[in-house]
Each structure stands twice: as structure tokens, then as C-alpha cells.
């Protein structure tokens, strides 16, 4: 074993000398033809070329697949490191951290109640089309999120449980679902942008809302129109984050069509992963506050009609607007008349 290692070391030393130094620093030993070649950059030496081109080495090929002219791209190793380590940390910390924060918040703050109690009278908050846009986005986002998380973490979490064949089959279906559901998801985001953008322009009320802690911390309910400051933040995160996921996703789905360089494709893939994982973490908070986190909130997107007292507490200015316009409030059968309570 010893002599072999020694011989190997000799070979490696000879190689490094022969490769690195012969072309770079011993021009005297070059044959006449090569000696006439301009000194920089020498096409002959990989290291010099790498330094000159700052990365990949591009050449010419005679086959139709022109992207194969990229001879070597060492940054593939960076993509490897990003995918195996960086992305998993970002996703794990963001999603795991958000779940921990939500559990803690629930334990400390508990469910946000309607302080005046439920009135039994409702007011229409979202019509059928608004709810369609929301649930179109939401349902596809959940499937896209699960199949996407499967790509990011399935190898570590699911593969050992399912075995290679079952996991590959599930991932194959997941990929198909992920590709095709991207279209309705994008449509949902666009619809929400169009129907809600007028209610989501930031204004002075939002500053006051955030200054008062949004009613989550403490017990005051700062006034708000149809969407409060927090909801506006979610709206813009969904529109911009969802838009970014859609754009990078379509770039990935049509490889080298919109973006023609290797760096561009790698960047799109990395951005898609990071933004999507952060969006999943953000939407977990949205799901929490729209369901178990707040009494009366789910009805807004469920039946579309919210309890009047809930609306007065969370969206006082919006209720005044609707009431003065004389639309919206409806009295369910058996409920006491308006003003009786």
C-alpha cells in the first residue's frame, strides 16, 4: 500500500507540473507553432481559461444542441451546494420556525375572540367571484406547495418511509400536477390582483393599524377599511411572491426558451425554491389567522358573510361604508331586528 501511495503522489506531482506549469510558465519549451500563439488567454490551459472567463468555458459544437457548446461550468458545484444545503436550511428554518411561532402564539394569546360576542346578524364580505378567486389560488397553492416540498425535502423525509419505487411514482405524479396546476394558480393570483388591488393601496390607516399592533397584541381594535394593514401585506406578498413563483416556474417549465443561459436557468430554479418556501411559511400564518386563530374569520371566505360584530371590530370603517351605502347587511331568519340588541 505504501509504495503505491508514494507512486501515486509522484504521478500527481508530475501531472500538476506537466499540466499547470508547462503551459503557463515554461513558454520556452513550447513547440514553434504554439509559441507563435498570443500569450493570453492561452486556449491550452484550463485554469488560465477559467480565470480569464471567470467561470465556464464555452466553445463551438457541430451538433444541433447548441447549449452543449458549454464545455465546463464549475458553478454547477455551487448549484449542488445550494440545493443540498442552503435551500434546505432556508426552508427548514422558515417553515419550522413559523409553525413554532404559531403554536407559541396560540398557547400565549389563544384564539382572538369577537369581544362583543356574535350578533347573529351577518354582512356580506366577499361575493361568490371573490371567493372563487381566493379558493382557486388557495387549493392549487396547497397542492403546488405539497408537491414542491416533496421535491425539496421528500428525499430525506418520505423516501425512507415509502421506498424508492413508490416514492418515484408519487414524485412523478407530483411533478405532472405541479406543472399543470401552475396555470390555474397563476390565473387565481391575477384575478385577486384585479378585483382587490383598489382596496389594497396602502394609506395612513395602515400606519395607525400597525402602530396599534393590529389588534393581535393587546386588545384594542384599530379602525380599518375592507382590508387592514396586515391583510394588505399578505395581498402584496401573494401578488408579488406568487407572481415571482409563477414567472420563475414558467421559465423552468420551458427550459432555455425564455432564458437561454445556464446561469439564468440556475438562478430561476434557485429563486423559485427560496421564494416558494418563504411563501409557504407566510401562508401558514395566513391559514392560522383565517381559521383556528380568530373567531368568525373563516366565514368571510367560507359563506362569504361575516358576523356584524366581527366586522365592526376588525373593519369598522368598511362597515360604516357598506351601511351608509345601504347594501350588505342581511338579517337571517329568526334573528332579532336591527337595533334590538
Amino acid at each position: 500500500m505504501r509504495p503505491l501511495l508514494k507512486r501515486l503522489r509522484g504521478v500527481i506531482a508530475a501531472l500538476l507540473l506537466g499540466l499547470g506549469l508547462a503551459a503557463a510558465s515554461l513558454p520556452a519549451s513550447l513547440p514553434p507553432a504554439a509559441a507563435q500563439a498570443p500569450a493570453s488567454p492561452s486556449a491550452a490551459n484550463e485554469q488560465i481559461l477559467f480565470n480569464y472567463l471567470q467561470g465556464s468555458v464555452q466553445g463551438r459544437v457541430t451538433i444541433p444542441d447548441q447549449k452543449s457548446a458549454l464545455l465546463i461550468q464549475p458553478q454547477g458545484r455551487d448549484f449542488q451546494h445550494f440545493w443540498r444545503t442552503t435551500l434546505k436550511w432556508i426552508g427548514g428554518v422558515a417553515i419550522g420556525g413559523m409553525l413554532a411561532v404559531l403554536v407559541l402564539f396560540y398557547l400565549i394569546r389563544g384564539k382572538v375572540r369577537v369581544e362583543a360576542g356574535l350578533s347573529g346578524r351577518t354582512i356580506e364580505r366577499f361575493n361568490g367571484f371573490e371567493r372563487f378567486a381566493h379558493w382557486l389560488t388557495a387549493s392549487t397553492f396547497i397542492i403546488l406547495g405539497i408537491t414542491g416540498l416533496n421535491i425539496s425535502f421528500g428525499r430525506e423525509l418520505l423516501l425512507p418511509l415509502m421506498g424508492p419505487e413508490a416514492f418515484a411514482a408519487w414524485s412523478q405524479w407530483g411533478k405532472i400536477a405541479h406543472n399543470y396546476l401552475s396555470f390555474p394558480f397563476t390565473l387565481g393570483v391575477l384575478l385577486m390582483l384585479v378585483i382587490w388591488i383598489k382596496d389594497n393601496i396602502p394609506n395612513g390607516d395602515d400606519v395607525k393599524w400597525f402602530a396599534a399592533g393590529g389588534g393581535l397584541i393587546g386588545h384594542g381594535h384599530p379602525p380599518a377599511r375592507k382590508f387592514n394593514g396586515g391583510q394588505k401585506v399578505i395581498f402584496w406578498l401573494v401578488v408579488l411572491g406568487g407572481g415571482a413563483i409563477a414567472v420563475t416556474g414558467f421559465i423552468m417549465m420551458f427550459p432555455f426558451q425564455f432564458v437561454t443561459t445556464m446561469e439564468g436557468m440556475q438562478l430561476a430554479t434557485q429563486l423559485h425554491g427560496v421564494i416558494a418556501l418563504l411563501m409557504i411559511a407566510i401562508i401558514l400564518a395566513h391559514i392560522y389567522i383565517g381559521s383556528v386563530g380568530m373567531e368568525g374569520a373563516f366565514a368571510a371566505m367560507g359563506s362569504g358573510k361575516v358576523d356584524l360584530n366581527w366586522a365592526k371590530e376588525h373593519h369598522s370603517l368598511w362597515v360604516e361604508e357598506v351601511m351608509s351605502g345601504g347594501r350588505g347587511a342581511s338579517v337571517p331568519r329568526g334573528a332579532s331586528k336591527a337595533g334590538a340588541d
Binding site: 501515486l8 503522489r9 504521478v11 506531482a13 508530475a14 501531472l15 500538476l16 506537466g18 499540466l19 508547462a22 503551459a23 513550447l30 504554439a34 507563435q36 500563439a37 498570443p38 486556449a43 491550452a44 490551459n45 484550463e46 485554469q47 481559461l49 468555458v57 466553445g59 463551438r60 459544437v61 451538433i63 444542441d65 447549449k67 452543449s68 457548446a69 464545455l71 465546463i72 461550468q73 458553478q75 454547477g76 458545484r77 448549484f79 449542488q80 440545493w83 443540498r84 416533496n150 421535491i151 425539496s152 421528500g154 428525499r155 423516501l159 424508492p164 418515484a168 414524485s171 412523478q172 411533478k175 406543472n179 417549465m253 420551458f254 427550459p255 426558451q257 445556464m262 436557468m265 440556475q266
Partner: protein, 198 residues
């Protein structure tokens, strides 16, 4: 056990593309896919070099690291192979590969990719050696027959070397010593990181 590697002596490569053709013929590579290709650097200028490139069968292979379904494996000879039964055609290995080795037959709409195909070092795939099923998916398994990859075996100038890394490195080192120049073992630094620290 041998550690199989490719080495292209770019001072000998004459860009005849016979390695590309032989590979396609031997392995009956799908239409539109080139497991091996010849890239010419500084074409038409002084110092022009051609390099025959395929999968380098990397140490700590990036393709295997990023594969979401873990379909790659490394044989006892250091050859990086994959299972087309498990591959879902996501395309990540192509972004991670420093050498542009993984390729995908185009299927259906959009850029939908089929099962990835790449150089197998003429070592087939996970199926039993030299069965019709193995040939249909991965091509020839010359290693199981005691032969080296066809591309290197038929290279007329012996620019392309395939075999145990130590042996082909020694052959190359002897050439460099004898002729007094050499442009390096293309891709070795990226593929087999240990070479740089040696």
C-alpha cells in the same frame, strides 16, 4: 478496485467526432441526445483546441446530490449510473452537472422532459448485465464484458483515454514529459476535487 475516469488529451484531439458517432452507434442513443460531444475552444484562432466531453463520473457527483428522487448510484468502479425507472425528468441534474452530461428526450407539450439519459461509461444500468431490458434503457454494458468504453477504445489518435484514473493519469503524464507540453486534464479539477490538493 479501479476508479474509472475519462481523460481527453486536447493536444491530440483532431475533432473527428468519431467518439460521438461510435457512442451513438454502440449504445443506440435516443434521437437528439449526444452522450459525448466534441467542443472546440478558440475556434479558428491560434491555440485552438478540441476536447471530447461526456459524463466525467465525478467524485461526490453533483447530479446525485441534487436528485430529488435519489436515482443515482456509484458502482464499485467509480462509475456514476442512474435508474430510468426512478427518474422523474425534473432536470435539476442538468443544472448541477459541470459538464452538461444529463440530457432529456423531449416529451409532449412545453419543455416536458422524459427520463434523463447520459453516458454510462459503457456500463449499462441497474438491470442485470447485458439483458435486452438493460440495453434498451442504457445501451451497451462493455464493462461487464471486460471492455472499456467504445469512444476511447476506437479513438484514432488516442486522445481520449478511459480506464483506471491512476493508469490513464500516468500515461498522460508520460506523454507530457516526453513532448514537453500539455494542456491539462480537462475537467479533472472540477470532477475529482482531490487532484487540486494533491
Amino acid at each position: 478496485m479501479a476508479r474509472m475516469k475519462f481523460l481527453c488529451d486536447s493536444d491530440r484531439c483532431i475533432e473527428c467526432n468519431a467518439c460521438v458517432t461510435a457512442c451513438k452507434n454502440e449504445n443506440e442513443v435516443p434521437w437528439g441526445i449526444n452522450r459525448r460531444r466534441v467542443v472546440t475552444i478558440n475556434d479558428g484562432k491560434p491555440g485552438e483546441r478540441s476536447i471530447s466531453m461526456a459524463c466525467m463520473h465525478c467524485t461526490d457527483a453533483p447530479c446525485a446530490a441534487v436528485c430529488p428522487v435519489d436515482c443515482f448510484y456509484t458502482t464499485a468502479d467509480g462509475v456514476v449510473l442512474h435508474s430510468k425507472d426512478l427518474c422523474i425528468g425534473c432536470g435539476y441534474c442538468f443544472y448541477a452537472c459541470p459538464f452538461g452530461a444529463p440530457q432529456y428526450p423531449r416529451l409532449g407539450n412545453f419543455g416536458t422532459r422524459g427520463k434523463m439519459d447520459k453516458c454510462t461509461f459503457c456500463a449499462g444500468g441497474p438491470e442485470a448485465d447485458n439483458t435486452p431490458a438493460e440495453f434498451a434503457k442504457y445501451g451497451a454494458n462493455r464493462l461487464a464484458e471486460g471492455k472499456l468504453p467504445i469512444c476511447a477504445e476506437m479513438c484514432s489518435t488516442k486522445a481520449l483515454l478511459a480506464g483506471d484514473g491512476d493508469i490513464i493519469a500516468q500515461i498522460y503524464a508520460e506523454r507530457v514529459t516526453r513532448r514537453g507540453y500539455g494542456s491539462g486534464a480537462w475537467g479533472w479539477r472540477t470532477a475529482y476535487k482531490e487532484m487540486t490538493t494533491g
